[in-house]
Amino acid sequence: MAWVIEALKAVGLTVAVFTFLAVVGAMLGVYLERKISGWIQARLGPKHVGPQGLLQTVADTVKLLQKEHITPRHADVLIFNAAPVVVAVAALLDWVVIPFGTLGDRVLVVRDLNIGVLYFAAMASLTVLGILSGGWASNNKYALLGALRSASQMVSYEIPLALGIIWVALAAGTLSTVGIVEAQVRQGGWFLVRLPDPVGWWGAPLGLLAALTFLAAATAEVNRVPFDLPEAESELIAGYFAEYTGMRFALFQLGEYGEMFAMAALASVLFFGGWAEPRLQPWMWVGVALAALAVAVVIVATGRARNLVVRPLLILSLLGAALAAVMAWGVGAGRTPVLPSVAWFAIKLFALVFFLMWMRWTYPRLRLDQLLALSWKVLIPVGLANLLVTGLVLTVAGR
């Protein structure tokens, strides 16, 4: 009866991860997105429901639950109704292999599959099925165009995404997400800036290039600006979900946010050491704290503290200074690890998510031909060349 216990454990973990996705991904993610978008556009963002508008998303959910479902007369009913569920489940399935941290000797991960990152890439690409079937089943010209754009975009960017993942697998020698984090702990540095010995810190340019390829492809995979053509609201009226109303529309959004958080989590695992605490000397932490503080001081001293546009930057620099100060004190007092591993995972996850949100209001949308050219003529050749050079470097240095 061992499998019954395992199945019950799996059900419990599903509920936990789904709740995490709904609360952190959808509730907090949507709130942060609206708040940060507001600030960057010199607006206040949600403000009236709950303290500082924190309950705005809850109110929106309650509203969405009371909205009527409209199925267009000419739609393919079964596929039309199933598509949002497919998108949401695909986003959920990504989280099976994401390690959240450690508790004693145990790693907090739903299941450490031996093909972890390959599984992640496969599940992330399931989203395109939901989007394509939803857009096609709507029997709406905008939705069909959006779905087709989305499909061509997602298949084009899946290859640079996989090349970034393979680069990490090459450096780590494993496909397991837990193994990749442990490899970075063993070599004492993130894959972003360091390759296994004897290459060491000389591998930094290769790592930066791989991370850049991966992040660009990941942004395109989750359909975010500057790669948000499938849902380009000004040309396609939200694209593939133009015909969806109420909760089904929200399920698409939930899937999209879950996917975005999953991509950020995978990026932190692959290139930023996952749950592991960065190991710096106390004086380095002091330097980081002073640099962050300097940014805040400049913002305040030049009288921009009341300017909404720089507010996210001010908040972030103060938070960063506080974090670095705590780290400097903790490392100096010799109480490593200073912060619990789950906290580090959350810090890296939200830093990357903030980066994605910041990018949304910084870059204009690409044209479809530019988008495809970027993938096929820049990212794929660069990714392949990077893989070959890294292989060469590791082979020559390994002699």
């Binding site: 599903t14 409209i70 569920v85 393979i166 697998a169 109420g246 050749p381």
Partner: protein, 121 residues
Amino acid sequence: MPKVLVDWLYVAVFAVAGAVMAALPLVVVWLLAPRADLPQKTLTYESGVVPFGQAWAQFNVRYYLFALVFVIFDVEVIYLYPWAVVFRQLGALAFVEMLLFLLILIVGLAYAWRKGALEWV
């Protein structure tokens, strides 16, 4: 029970339980939300104009070309995964073999590029 089966049991449970949970709000909506049938409401949306024709019509063949090139490269990428994992144990020979494999594919990419298969016209 072998570990690999337990692994995929988790994935299967995740898929099924996740689908149930994703469908749950839809049930709530079915219980709570109002329903009023108006013929105009179920009309396909086309910016306020009465839609003409079906949306299931011809679309640009370019989408298909990109899908074809994608299939080639996706298969290639699948071959790269196992190579990357055992690369450091195999040494120089693994690198030379993969170099040959990738060179053939890069020639293919260059050919597709030259032929204009990667252009969106």
